[in-house]
Symmetry: C4
Subunit: 278 residues, 4 copies
């Protein structure tokens, strides 16, 4: 029988409970210790990058890194072993993050500098809401994710348009300011400037100096003023829509959801709905 084949040995079952769930005390302890280790490892990667600190504690950092890497490796394999369908975990969002969190130290044998990628471990911290059972925050993050997914087509079209616009504006500025000594040395650099300007970041490392260049830059900025309104409008209207559809009724007959707040009958099959207030 298929259920038997899928049945895990008892120790695997127990391991699964500890690693993947946070309902038993053991599971809870495991998760919290893991969070602390992740935080610790992220802090070490950062401190390591500060030269004077690294010089002083290099050996300590190196050993800590190896210990953490081994812990993560063991955890990664444990996660694979104790699950029924390992592929589902390996190719999931957190499965990939877990792998990327483990390999940088191994990679550093072959490529210099790659251990910095260990900072990707920070992404593992996103689990914190689930582990600490912060339902309120989980709900909030689900609403935000949903709104972003719902508006991804619009945001993609918008960003595509912004990039093309920056290419053109950059080229025009290169034409206008290219001969001056103001940093517009090539079209890609000018495009970089256009992006810096249109997103209102404005470093000032490259800035027009001629009057005509400043005039065109002004026009670009005022344009950017109008453009910045668009992604906000997209996300807001999506979030507002979520707000309006607060009805949680489902039709008894056809299970359709998203009923109008004032609905008495199912919009899908015409079946009478339960009284929302009774």
């Amino acid at each position: 029988m298929s259920t038997r084949q899928n049945k895990l040995p008892k120790w695997k079952h127990r391991l699964h409970e500890i690693i993947y769930e946070a309902d038993t005390p053991a599971g809870k302890y495991f998760d919290i210790i893991l969070l602390v280790v992740i935080l610790f490892s992220v802090v070490i990667v950062m401190l390591e990058s500060i030269e004077p600190i690294d010089k002083k504690y290099h050996a300590f950092f190196n050993i800590s890194e190896w210990i953490i890497t081994i812990i993560f490796s063991v955890e990664y394999f444990a996660r694979i072993i104790c699950i029924r369908r390992p592929k589902k975990y390996i190719f999931s969002f957190f499965g990939i993050i877990d792998l990327l969190s483990t390999i940088p130290k191994y990679l550093s044998f072959f490529f210099i500098g790659t251990h910095v990628l260990a900072a990707l471990r920070a992404l593992r911290l996103l689990r914190v809401f689930r582990i600490l059972k912060l339902v309120r925050f989980l709900g909030a993050s689900r609403i935000l994710t949903k709104a972003l997914i719902a508006s991804r087509a619009k945001i993609f079209v918008f960003l595509f348009f912004v990039i093309i616009l920056c290419c053109i504006l950059g080229s025009i500025m290169y034409l206008v300011e290219g001969t001056n000594d103001s940093g517009f040395t090539s079209i890609p650099k000018s495009i970089y400037w256009a992006i810096v300007t249109l997103t209102t970041v404005g470093y000032g490392d490259i800035a027009p100096t001629s009057s005509f260049g400043q005039l065109i830059a002004s026009i670009i900025m005022i344009l950017g003023y109008g453009i910045i309104a668009i992604p906000t409008g997209i996300v807001t209207s999506e979030l507002t829509k979520n707000k309006i559809q607060t009805s949680t009724q489902a039709c008894l007959n056809c299970n359709a959801i998203n009923h109008n707040d004032a609905a008495d009958f199912c919009y899908k099959c015409g079946h009478k709905l339960n009284d929302a207030n009774g």
Copy 2:
């Protein structure tokens, strides 16, 4: 009887009226004088920090500071004495602010520079709307506070995500630009840069110089363009919701909802509505 035990002596009652309320002329005068003293003290702290001015008027500033500190100390104790449950005041928002406004000058005996914290007195000015009975502004601030509280889970999740994102983007930029002489000297500094960029502040004290660094910076900026839309969307949808659900009346006759705020009669059946204010 409990009411007798709680009964304050008459002079305490009178003091309470003056300090905590603004309905009697004495209470009003007290509050306005206090506001003026606070404003004066804040201005002094600022002027004191400007070296040439401080040199010239150092004695005057010092004496003024002491007088103000004594006034605030007296006021603080008066507030504690004349209230029935002092703890409720001491641990309230304004109670803590009042304490923090009073102690910096005392602290300056032990720690150098701490008198600057006297700038926290500015927070006491937030009382101005209540004191001057600016009902309109009080209502506005209540709506804003409510919208922020309602959306605090979403904003918290969002900021948590932004911080993790900045950690990762900072590490990547450190990997790309770390060897160049462009300010990315360590991961924490690169994270600082990522925050400066993603929030579109863009000081320009650290800025990528290599082509590849500028390419990644461009991607980060365009990403930040989309991300800035999210908190705005959160707050807006919260404020909009407030707008839509302003009336909670339902018609007694036909049960219709969504009545106008000023409605006296049901828009659906013409039946008289209950008086909203009575």
Copy 3:
């Protein structure tokens, strides 16, 4: 009779028609010529400020300025003369602008540099929509103005809060960075920096250099990220509200407006409304 006393002589009536109205050909010509003169005068003020150009054409600019000032003076007095209640014009928004547009050249006799204030003439250009009868734009500007006026209490409370916040953040940064050589030389300068940062302008003329200073700056920036959402939310929810109240019905009985879209009866007096669709 009062109407006789108020009756203007015929030439004043004709003048009023030309100056204040744009329905007759003469009135239209007058307005368009005025717009051209205003534009011309604004351009001259700007060019005058560019040293090499001013050196070359100083005499021309000076004479032009005087001619324009005389034209504006004559126009200003004509406006006062030909109106029944001059005070209503003098203290209106455009009356004050007109005066401010006229006096700078006279003031320049007494105070050096004040002729630059002639740039205030640009405000007179706001009349352009009314003069050119651009109804669409007039409507748009009315909606925007209405939304801003409706949300002015909230925006005021918000800006008041931002200013107090900047005072405190500035003082903290002065405490942290004041001893470094990074521009935080006094509290007012630090407050200026806090405003530059919180509004995401980010010049970079003052920027933290110490690690601790950059940490606090990061917190301020992420805070500012959340705060920038608030005014947008305020204005948006106001503009959205306008959108929702699209019904243009007025009650036949009590003349109340702002009826619900689905309304059959007046919410004010219960009178039957006209059928919106019939």
Copy 4:
């Protein structure tokens, strides 16, 4: 008969199918090859502007440019020939873009530097959504375009007001900071600074140094904080409106509106609705 006169010869008809449509395999291949050529040509224009790369591959770039220009010229004439009413194409948005994409290389005979305008070819990439039949993105771009067109009057009035405001603020800053050595050398430069500040770009190439200048700059920035909310509010309220009025169906039985987009039955009385798509 008119239809006969308009009838194109068979080869023109076939050409039209290939060039303008993407339903046949030939049409699809043509469009994809064209997209690749456009992308290639845009990349070449950019690389050409980087001096060290241009020096090395100048001949290759020049020849490629000519080949691309010839391809585009042939395509442009083919488009004109095979269409019934050539004027409709020539003066359409994409017709003008196609022409502008073709001529820069020819223009470079007469004017130096104009070949940079070839970057306008990037605009041709906007066709990508139509060619690849990305319906989702096409719909998204249509919604965005619609919202922008609907709010163009408000945005125009807003930008007009911002420009006038910047003129005045710039003049005031010139008056305050003009004598200092902080970059406010003329009114146009000060206006440029005002635009840079109000749009929160903040390069920092020009920044006030005097206390009074920084005070006024602070006021401008806080003002800009409120102003940036307006375009966002405009676009958002427009996009939200689109969301709310997505269904225009009314029930035949009870005349209820605001049906769900997917509704087949009235939510009010359960009556079958008309098929929205038939």
